[in-house]
Amino acid sequence: MSIEIPGLPEDMPGAELKYVGKDVKRIEDPGLVAGTVEFIDNLDLPNMAHCAMLRSPHPHARITGYDTSAAEALPGVAAVITGEDVKRWANPVTTAPEGWGSYCLAVDKVRFVGEPVVAVAAESRYIAEDALELVNVEYELLPVAATAEEAIKEGAPRLFEENESNVILSKTYDWGDVDQVFADADHVVSEAFSWNRVGANPMETFGCVSTWDTLNNSLTIHGSFQTPGFMALGRAFSLNLPTNKVKVVSHPHGGSFGGKGGPRGSEISSLLSRKAGGRAVKYIEDRVEYLLAGAGQSWDRRYDASLALKADGTVTGFKVKLLDDQGAGAEGYGTISIAKPIAAFTGCYRIEAARYDLNVVATNRAPTYPYRGYGPPPHNYVLESLMDIAAQKLGLDVAEIRRRNYIPPEAFPYTIPSGNEYDSGQYEVTLDAALDLADYKALREEQARAREEGRLVGIGVCSVVEPGVFDWNAYTTVGIQGIGVPEGAKVSVDIMGQITVTVGFSLEGQGQYTLAAQLVADFFGVDMASVRVAYAATDVAPPHFGPGGSRLGVAITGAVLGACRKIEEKFKLVTARLMQCEPAALELADGLVRIKGVPGAEMHIAQVAGTMLARSDLLPPGMEQSPEATYVWTAPGRTEPDEQGRCKSYLTAANACHVVM
């Protein structure tokens, strides 16, 4: 069974839509305004200890000794761990590309300011922080690679001494005959660009509570996790546990924007729990820790880029050389941020050929992590700035040069030179709407008047494609394997006709629980209040990823509709047997399974579910007593990348146009 994602509310199955596409109140909100939602710091487990971390004051230094004895002797301290414990019990985190991960606490040396070095668990956070003041760590300072430019110089200090250099990745993709289009160009415009590091800064920092069951050698981590299944798998690898012995429970979190991370915090609190004999250990990152070296930093880039143009402003080629500063290794999977732009490399434009020369480098700065849909804004800044520079050179209006180069509506589905397929787009319509909203003509007149008065006023026009619904294949470039990112949902109808949707992700703010309830309510034709959305931890949840890469609204729609379809099919078989009709004669609407065109020949879904659960003798032969179904949705038609990284990766291609004075 394949599930088409409805493009519009009217494409939804079901007779009458009461919720999808309508203004509904979010089911998440009453708990949020009441203050009763269980954010991670609201979780208290019996006899729980609290973690604090001593962090490196140096960007690069060898650890030559520890003295933790005074901290261990402080009343209220439950456990102290250092790199020695970590070396014994854990592994460096997995990375893409491989071999650029650190241990959760610095082992042998520190690589950035803020890297955790020693961690304490104590009766309270206050006592844990007291204990840190009693810890002594001796360092021998090492030379520093502070910038990407420094890090790639001959003889630069190496962050990972087992690797040959600080270059994490260096490769060039050629899509089409780039040299030829540049040779044939009437104009070439080039510029260098830089994009400073940015930070996510959700209102809630990262937090978790780890409990290491030392009897069964299993681990449970509650936390503000965006991608619980992925976190559980990673912790199993780092902490030498079987993958089915790590359970992650994601709590509602106070924003994430990709920057919640948490591998280090989870592993440190877990190892403290292990050392404390299985006592639960809570770690709540504070704001200073988050700002210093939390998982919220991203996109530290230098670009050299060029456009090739014909005399009429037609863009034929686009070359980008990127020097990307990942910080101290690739522990945060920040590398994928340089791969995502491949999914919309040439933006909204018909450009024949393009080149992406990638250089991804480790430096002695805090590691970078994914942020806000994984990384296109700096790339868009480069492309859109070059479009402006080209317009200026050719004497064209900045809106006009874009208009001349847009992929036309009749060209969709359209495959861009870097391989991804855009499903649809009406870029000129979007441009015109933005120009109208801004009253572009009036803005230009105002600008002209200002110039006459000697004031410089700028007007910016910017068109972008933002790929949505990520796929692993988009990140093959940095060494990630796989095609298809599953997202599952279970839908259950109970004996009273109440419906529960079970998903593998928790609240983050985008309203997906409301979306799930809207879809189910309209599919069965029941009141939205009779639908509950429940969270399942990683040990019992269906395959899932959660929010990330602008995917979950689409993915959970596919999963929920798929599960509903499976239930509909079963309900029709059961009802057909009871009513002695063909399943095809039945329809599902208004909470009823009924014979089309025969008023009164109907069963409420509660009766069907009740029959399934309580009258096995009435069921079709072989039918399970199970008025529930699980469906795992995956974006259809994703393809294996070729040697130039070309594939169908992101499923959707949203378009935006901004006009700013």
Partner: protein, 170 residues
């Protein structure tokens, strides 16, 4: 560590007495001693307003006060907003739900408490009054427009006669 001191305080109309270290912050006291987890901690240095509560009727950052400073005071937190008998949302809470004044909702309790102080003192606030009052609260999800709408709706309902008074803090 130092000698513990006694704190007697009334929170949402309920009297509490605890022995605490002088260094314990008010927000940690509320969250971890009294188990009132609705007041959240955002920045821990007085920037974001997530931890705002009312102390003797005035909105304060509970991360910037010590628990010992509120000895003898009357406090209102987000847990004190709902009608205790019916469980109904307070008009300000309902306005935030109706106008989608949140996404992740982590900062929302702070916005609610700030709005309560604003509308209690000024039931007919201008745009500038609302912006001035909310200027000390940060949100990272909404872009603030929906929050402004929520406050306007709450103000309208107050003007129409809905009671935002909290008898236990009078």
């Amino acid at each position: 560590m130092t000698t513990k001191q006694t704190v007697k305080v009334t929170v949402n109309g309920i009297a509490y007495e605890r022995q605490v270290e002088p260094r314990l912050t008010l927000v940690d006291f509320l969250r971890h001693e009294l188990h009132l987890g609705g007041t959240h901690v955002g920045c821990e240095h007085g920037v974001c307003g997530t931890c705002n509560i009312l102390v003797d009727g005035k909105a304060v950052r509970s991360c910037l006060m010590l628990a010992v400073q509120v000895d003898g005071a009357s406090l209102t937190t987000v847990e004190g907003l709902r009608n205790r008998d019916t469980g109904d949302l307070h008009p300000i809470q309902q306005a935030f739900v109706d106008e989608h004044g949140m996404q992740c909702g982590f900062c929302t309790p702070g916005f609610l408490m700030t709005t309560l102080e604003l509308l209690r003192d000024n039931p007919n606030p201008s745009e500038a009054d609302i912006k001035d009052a909310l200027g000390g609260n940060l949100c990272r999800c909404t872009g603030y427009e929906a929050i402004m709408k929520s406050v306007r709706l709450a103000a309208k309902r107050v003007q129409e006669g809905q009671d935002i008074g909290l008898t236990h803090t009078d």
